[in-house]
Amino acid sequence: MRLGHGTADERTNGKWERLLAAAQHGDAVAYRTFLKEIIPFVRTIARRRCWSPDMVEDVVQDVLLTVHRVRHTYQPERPVEPWLAAIVVRRSIDATRKRGRIGGQEVYNEAAYETFADPDAKDPLDGDISRTLARMTKGLPRGQKEAIELVKIKEMSLAEASLASGQSIPSLKVNIHRAMKKLRHNLVEDPPE
């Protein structure tokens, strides 16, 4: 795949290949440099397939997480560009499909993500609330429970939660949405004492 003038390999003179190979050996500095340098390349491909800027940024973050998980599949000496482009295309397709599914079947409501009106009530150290939450989330599927705990209780960002859980950012969003729906239902059926 060509972007601008020449392939990435020609533009970077094999620098990405060297950086990623070093990252496979655990070189954090090389890895950070690699991840920073690939952002424009990733963003360019993502923009071709995603229609909104926030979706592009979601894909960029998802690609970074995916690169982290599959960096062992890169074979040293081979060009990084096709390997990376395949990841970006795949994640863009996933994001587009998920966005389409969610848009077609579910209504996004930012306010619904709020657990309680009082911010102090979200303090995980609060004994009563913590116990109540634990009881309420007990019946949730593992992925939904994990998403709620990381994002809503521990107040991690989606990217942090994705890194901690292994779930992609779109999956986390979907799991949170579904868990909240289920929790609301449970609250009506079986209100806490």
């Binding site: 890895y31 950070r32 970074l64 982290h68 890169y74 074979q75 096709p82 395949a86 990217a159 942090e160």
Partner: protein, 216 residues
């Protein structure tokens, strides 16, 4: 600092040495060797090679070609699964096992036709055809975990085609092994049952692709 920059810092802080996966061709060869060893042992210890020869007496060339097509389908599907599991692997690998699969079906159909005009169709095996289905499903269930384990090491970013190709690989291997256990000449009904069993294995692998292949 943006969220993306924060994420990069977190990922860089989390980086650990990883051993790069070996070339897909080499990994496929090793997996095929292991599958071949298990299948070979089963045939050597329990298979009825003489019965197979008798069933195809006078049609040895057809038997050989059919077996080669079956084996080629199994091997090419497994090799393709390994190539597709790696980011950047060509999608053309998806089509690689199709020609040998088509040849296999054609030759099997030809064998059934010869049986039909030779002994009147070999009726009376309707109940036993179900055993063939169970054999292919059970043998696939034995062979699949080994292949899945090796394929999952790549954490495929698009697991569905990997699972489908893997399913075809183990199902075709099972059908190949079945030839050494088949108690009677294959009829059109048997062929349809064999095909149904292969489709069931492939579909099952496709349905559970995300659970078994640990996609990234």
């Amino acid at each position: 600092m943006t969220r993306t920059e924060t994420l990069i810092d977190q990922l860089a802080a989390d980086v650990r040495p990883v051993r790069p996966l070996r070339a897909p061709a080499l990994r496929a060869t090793l997996a095929l060797a292991a599958i071949g060893l298990i299948a070979g042992l089963a045939v050597a210890l329990l298979g009825d090679v003489d019965g197979l020869r008798q069933r195809y007496a006078g049609r040895e060339t057809l038997l050989a070609l059919e077996m080669v097509a079956m084996l080629a389908t199994a091997m090419l599907a497994v090799v393709a699964a390994f190539f597709v599991s790696i980011p950047g692997g060509s999608r053309r690998w998806l089509a690689v096992p199709i020609p040998s699969f088509a040849v296999w079906l054609m030759l099997s159909g030809l064998g059934c036709y010869y049986n039909l005009i030779g002994d009147g169709g070999g009726e009376g095996h309707a109940g036993e055809s179900a055993d063939c289905l169970l054999f292919i499903a059970a043998t696939s269930a034995v062979l699949a975990p080994l292949l899945i384990w090796r394929l999952a090491q790549a954490r495929p970013i698009d697991p569905l085609p990997v699972a489908l190709l893997g399913g075809l690989g183990v199902a075709a291997t099972s059908a190949f092994v079945l030839q050494f256990f088949h108690p009677f000449a294959v009829t059109f009904v048997d062929l349809a049952v064999h095909l149904a069993a292969i489709l069931i294995v492939v579909a099952a692998m496709g349905l559970i692709n995300r659970r078994i292949l640990a996609p990234a």
